[in-house]
Subunit: 336 residues, 2 copies
């Protein structure tokens, strides 16, 4: 799969085919199809378990192509303990992909697998950016204004004030890299007053008021305000952030289903259906490009375990943009 | 305001007029109007600060009625520290209302004021139910099936496994009181597997598997699954629960606004607008009857600080139902 498409050097993207809810060979076929129709120059390196090799050889023959596949002994399932996995399954798709990334054999790595194993593995195998003790998962969510970056959406369960402050720096550096000059940063909290939340939230609040040259700290933001889009970056602990993201997704789907049901009774429904379909696509986070694990010197992308194949393809397109724009170098420059 | 409407004895509901975003005299006028048009027999006892007495006397004259108002020295603002408030502002509307409740001068107390002051005050002034160490705020949310009870939505910030287990018992007892025979109870978590979340979540999970005669434990529930309605009770810590509730509210409003905007361009929009209006009402938690502080031997209702007056009226109707059906006695009976 190394056909040169334009004059630019190809970008190498590693894809973990294991661990998500889609069948590895189906993802593979969709990516081959995507690559054939995509104007940009991407080389894929796939990571899969040994038992798939004969199936993949068939796919190579069918398509008359040669695939770049790294076969491993293990894969890590969604419900495995990440700390046990990293000890017992060194030769698994996730860890092998991360090692390829470390060794510059790929420019980015995308996985739909076990979040804990991916973040634990990245912590151990890759280098963290200066002054960052823990990487965080950053997701971009639609709002009434621009896309807002929310982090951490699930890399770390425990947290303290320093983590929240680091998330603020990472989120702001990320948004600056996307050309938001002075991002507005808020803390996800249960009220807007300074003393709301746990002592970690209160402590982070007072630390963040001192960052005014780097970003614009807008204080605490309640869940109901996030979608107003008045903050470019929302920081939160990984547990709350994950609940936030999945709740948003569930509710968007609930509301849209209700509307479908009601509108089906009406006439002139086709146009309305199209409008809702577009809206659903924008709001359905399953189709979203996934979350980026920020705080590392490499690009690691986590898709939902239940991402559709379309979701994985949009993650590839987004990842390609990150590599082309050298987002890591850019984030690094803002963290100096 | 003591006109007898039917043969039943009047129910006494205490209303804190301070602390929310509506003007006290406007809430008062709306409640007078509501009472005049309501078939059931409710006597209201209002709690307000001294400075409002002349304004309220004018309202009495205007309407040719006599109001039952308890005037206090203080009110507690939204951003006050609850622990300081309980020491310094003993004579405030919230604490005076809770004392009226304790002394059986009212059957229920409704406040839109400072959540921390209300829960701290209730903890100190009222009696807790057997084997409950901390009351929790319970909200009812719409789903694809029945209303689901979610608790805690903001009474307590810190938590441990025992709290989550107690919330499960309270939530199940509450739903049994509403005639759900064997409620399905789940833990709000970041994945469905048993080992997900903090050690408190994991510990609560193993404790809850042992309650099978009282309720049906369905394990961990992710944010995106809550609105499927497969659990009648969802337990969570007060921080996450509060973020969950406010996020749902914000997103529902965001989605509906988007749809309004899009559909305005279409023809035949009037019918669609009506459908959306109804849906919005159902989903907009600001109009919702508020949350009940469960775990106490009295009925305490917390409305959002930003509840509309319509929201306060629906809280009154719901509270009236709770009193008529003697929900506390019923919850107590299930906790024996």
């Amino acid at each position: 799969m190394n056909n040169q498409k334009n004059n630019e050097l190809p970008i190498h993207i590693g894809i973990d085919l294991m661990g998500g809810e889609n069948k590895p060979d189906e993802i593979l076929r969709s990516i081959i199809n995507f690559k054939n129709n995509y104007s940009e120059n991407i080389n894929f390196v796939f990571f899969a378990t040994n038992d798939l090799s004969s199936k993949f050889t068939d796919i190579e023959k069918e398509n008359n192509i040669s695939l770049d596949v790294v076969y491993t002994e293990h894969s890590i399932s969604m419900d495995e303990n990440p700390l046990l996995a990293i000890r017992r399954k060194k030769k698994s798709t996730i860890f092998e992909g991360l090692r390829y990334l470390k060794d510059n054999k790929i420019d980015a790595f995308i996985s739909c697998g076990n979040t804990g194993a991916l973040t634990t593995g990245a912590n151990v195998i890759l280098n963290k950016l200066k002054s960052i003790s823990r990487p965080a998962l950053l997701a971009l969510i639609p709002t009434k204004k621009n896309l807002t970056a929310i982090l951490d959406v699930g890399a770390n369960i425990s947290f303290d004030a320093d983590n929240l402050v680091q998330y603020a720096m990472l989120g702001a550096a990320f948004q600056k890299s996307l050309n938001i000059n002075k991002p507005k940063v808020g803390i996800l909290n249960i009220g807007t007053e300074q003393q709301k939340g746990t002592s970690h939230h209160q402590n982070a609040y007072s630390q963040l008021t001192k960052f005014d040259d780097f970003f614009n700290f807008v204080g605490n933001v309640e869940g109901k305000e996030v979608f107003e889009g008045n903050a470019d970056v929302i920081v939160t602990d990984g547990f709350t952030g994950n609940v936030f993201l999945k709740t948003s997704e569930g509710l968007a789907s609930f509301v849209l289903d209700k509307i479908y049901q009601n509108i089906a009774k009406e006439e002139k429904r086709e146009e309305i259906f199209n409008i809702l379909q577009n809206l659903k696509k924008r709001l359905y986070f399953g189709e979203y490009p996934g979350a980026i694990l920020v705080g590392l010197d490499k690009i690691v992308i986590k898709c939902h375990g239940y991402s559709s194949i379309k979701g994985i393809i949009s993650a590839i397109i987004e990842t390609h943009e990150f590599v082309k724009n050298n987002i890591i170098l850019s984030i690094k420059s803002y963290l100096q």
